[in-house]
């Protein structure tokens, strides 16, 4: 909290902001304030997710946050000259942050605090509604908590969209002396960063969500399986877990309820397949991330053979607000069977890239044009890969599809984790199809043949097509190979890696032929 007379200035400490020089900006602001005798309280907040404006500097004047961005270290003197500490005008002034259309048009539920608070300040978290959900949960029994989550309609946000309440009910009903809550924070899909943002900008939301999950099913141990590629998220999560322990919000006696819940971050080691839940469990056990046969489901026999919740970061971080505000509040957002909000991430060749949390049903075109502002290069958008490296390339003729799980499934697409990777018309779709197979070959765990061998053959066949060797026959062969992988693979990696390839065959055939 700022002392009397101090002006609070916010500079994000999230990975993307830092990747564009936020640390230097923060340092320059602190230095300039000292030089000029200005009394500034610098807060390293999370990021608002308006990434094209990063580094985004905010200043709080009369309780309202005003934004300036993008700001480089060289702009800082000018900011002070312009009187930004009293919301003075500047070439990069954006006005009150909450009124920036990109943000104002969103429904920030799960991301309500993201970018506003100091991520590791428990005081901030509580000031913005944090731990209200757990406070309610400790008064209820497990079945009541599960009921609320079920009624909310929350579905897994990691990609598979499985109803969370049903998963939790299975774990609750499973016999076991020890149960576990695990969080799959191995956000490996290109074009996604929502999990990272939660962990870097609002880590207590995940911690609280996992704690509620523990209370719901009677689990006393939780693990966050977190990717090595996110060193800052690991650091911030560990710091937040430490604070929660000190405050009695994790540990042997959570909120004086008499119940224990312990939480630990386990670092992954760069294998994409470990985002598949059974592979993740193997990895958490310290082994190679080879997928398991199902059944048994992890909910029955998961980590170390015990009943286990496996949920994605966003899923778990959505739980506190559902508990705090009730299932109906959450359910009122969305459409059809896709309830609540979706966190879309605009990525790749897009003018205004960032995070958009919005009710289901918004069309792809609205996201790409109204939010995204078209491509970064200013050229026409030719393709959008939705749902990560295993997702179809969406053709502009499909851009009016509303974002809900079922509408996407109808044309063989998927929303997955909500990542949209935009390509302009310079993209070589033949290369992209080849990459899908190459990626699968690199990342296959090797357990099943269609994926292990099929992906390698896929690269070879595409190479033959592109170099004009038996083009017609090889195009037939490629479809057959995709078919084999889709129906014969054990998990989604081999089973879905053909989707981007098939989408190129169907919608961009002119790029997948002899050169």
């Amino acid at each position: 909290m700022a002392n009397r007379g101090e002006v609070r200035v916010f500079v994000p400490r999230d990975t993307t902001a830092r990747s564009l020089g936020a640390d230097d900006v923060a340092q320059a602001i602190a230095g300039t304030a000292t030089d000029r005798g200005e009394s500034v309280a610098l807060v390293r907040s999370g990021s608002r997710g308006l990434y094209w404006l990063e580094p985004l500097v905010e200043v709080e004047v009369d309780g309202v946050r005003h934004a300036y961005g993008p700001i480089g270290p060289g702009d800082v003197e000018g900011l002070f000259d312009a009187g930004f500490l009293t919301a003075g005008d500047h070439a990069n002034a954006l006005g009150p942050t909450g009124q920036i259309p990109y943000l104002a048009r969103q429904s920030r539920l799960t991301f309500a605090r993201v970018g506003i608070t100091d991520p590791v300040s428990l005081e901030d978290y509580r000031a913005y509604g944090g731990y209200e959900g757990l406070a309610k949960a400790v008064e209820l029994d497990g079945a009541q908590i599960v009921d609320i989550v079920t009624e909310s309609g929350l579905r897994g946000r990691g990609g598979a969209a499985f109803p969370t309440g049903i998963k939790w009910r299975t774990v609750l009903g499973a016999e076991g002396i020890q149960k576990y809550v695990t969080c799959n924070a191995d956000e490996g899909d290109s074009g996604t960063f929502a999990d990272r943002m939660i962990m870097e900008s609002d880590p207590f939301a995940l911690i609280e969500g996992m704690t509620i999950a523990g209370f719901a099913v009677g689990a006393t141990e939780g693990y966050v399986y977190l990717r090595t590629e996110y060193p800052l998220a690991i650091e911030i999560m560990n710091e937040a877990i430490g604070s929660a322990e000190s405050a009695g919000l994790l540990g042997e006696n959570v909120m004086d309820s008499g119940q224990a819940f312990r939480l630990e971050v386990r670092e992954a080691a760069g294998a994409y397949i470990c985002g598949e839940e059974t592979s993740m469990l193997e990895s958490l056990e310290g082994k190679r991330g080879i997928i398991r046969y199902r059944p048994p489901l992890p909910a029955i026999k998961g980590l170390f053979g015990a009943p286990t919740i496996v949920n994605n970061v966003i899923t778990l971080a959505s739980v506190p607000i559902i508990m705090a505000r009730g299932s109906k509040y959450y359910q009122d957002y969305g459409t059809g069977r896709s309830r609540g909000t979706l966190t879309v991430q605009l990525a790749g060749n897009i003018k205004r890239g960032g995070l958009v949390e919005i009710g289901f049903g918004t069309t792809l075109r609205e996201l790409l044009e109204d939010f995204g502002g078209g491509s970064a290069t200013g050229r026409p958008i030719r393709a959008v890969q939705a749902g990560g490296p295993l997702g179809a390339y969406v053709h502009p003729s499909q851009f009016d599809t509303p974002l809900d799980y079922e509408a996407f499934a109808e044309f063989g697409g998927m929303i997955g984790h909500g990542g949209l990777v935009v390509f302009d018309d310079t993209v070589d779709m033949g290369e992209q199809a080849r990459f899908a197979m190459e990626f699968c070959a690199i990342e296959s765990c090797g357990k099943c043949t269609p994926c292990r061998i099929g992906a390698v053959r896929g690269v070879e066949v595409i190479d033959k097509i592109l170099s004009g060797v038996d083009e017609v026959d090889n195009l037939v062969l490629l479809r057959e190979l995709c078919d084999t992988m889709v129906v014969g693979s054990l998990c989604a990696l081999g089973g879905m890696a053909p989707f981007p390839v098939l989408s190129v065959l169907d919608h961009f055939p002119e790029d997948l032929r002899a050169r």
Binding site: S19, G286, V421, I442
Partner: protein
């Protein structure tokens, strides 16, 4: 590859490896934790570590070797002074990662999984740093940089 030797464990590092393995041995599912801890300490997991860790955990050497070789970010050779990770994933591809990749390899004179002659940089591919709205991205050691053009890449090499 200049530094393929990895059986260079001295008695001192064997003692260290044994200490690390023993310290974590009683935790649930400790093998990956131990390998991370060894790599944090030494920069890589030497081949000599395999029998030591296997003995402490009472598992086969194959089991330990299998885990080391499965994970892309565990390495069994010493890295250069800095490790440079280039993102190869789609969002970065959409913003020129393939050009950056060619530039980086040419500039450093190495391919992926290799270390420069002077031992300054090891070059590694990586699939997604979660910086996809400001692509292309690279990571040097544990700091991520966004919108890395070939020019910015060269400038970053200068200051690293």
């Amino acid at each position: 590859m200049s530094n393929k030797s990895s059986g260079n464990g001295s008695a001192a590092s064997e003692a260290l490896i044994r200490e690390i393995a023993t310290r974590h041995a009683s935790l649930p599912g400790p093998l990956l934790l131990i390998l991370h801890a060894i790599q944090d300490e030494l920069g890589f997991v030497p081949n000599d570590a395999v029998p030591v860790v296997a003995e402490v955990l009472n598992v086969s050497r194959a089991e330990v070797h299998g885990v080391i070789s499965f994970y892309h970010l565990l390495r069994d050779t010493p890295p250069g002074r800095h490790t440079l990770y280039l993102c190869r994933a789609e969002a970065c591809q959409a913003m020129g990662a393939r050009t950056l990749e060619r530039h980086a390899k040419e500039k450093l004179g190495v391919d992926y999984h290799e270390t420069t002659e002077d031992g300054r940089f090891s070059l590694e591919p990586i699939f997604c740093l979660g910086n996809c709205a400001c692509s292309p991205a690279i990571m040097i050691d544990d700091f991520v940089y966004g919108r890395v053009t070939p020019e910015r890449f060269d400038a970053l090499l200068e200051v690293t």
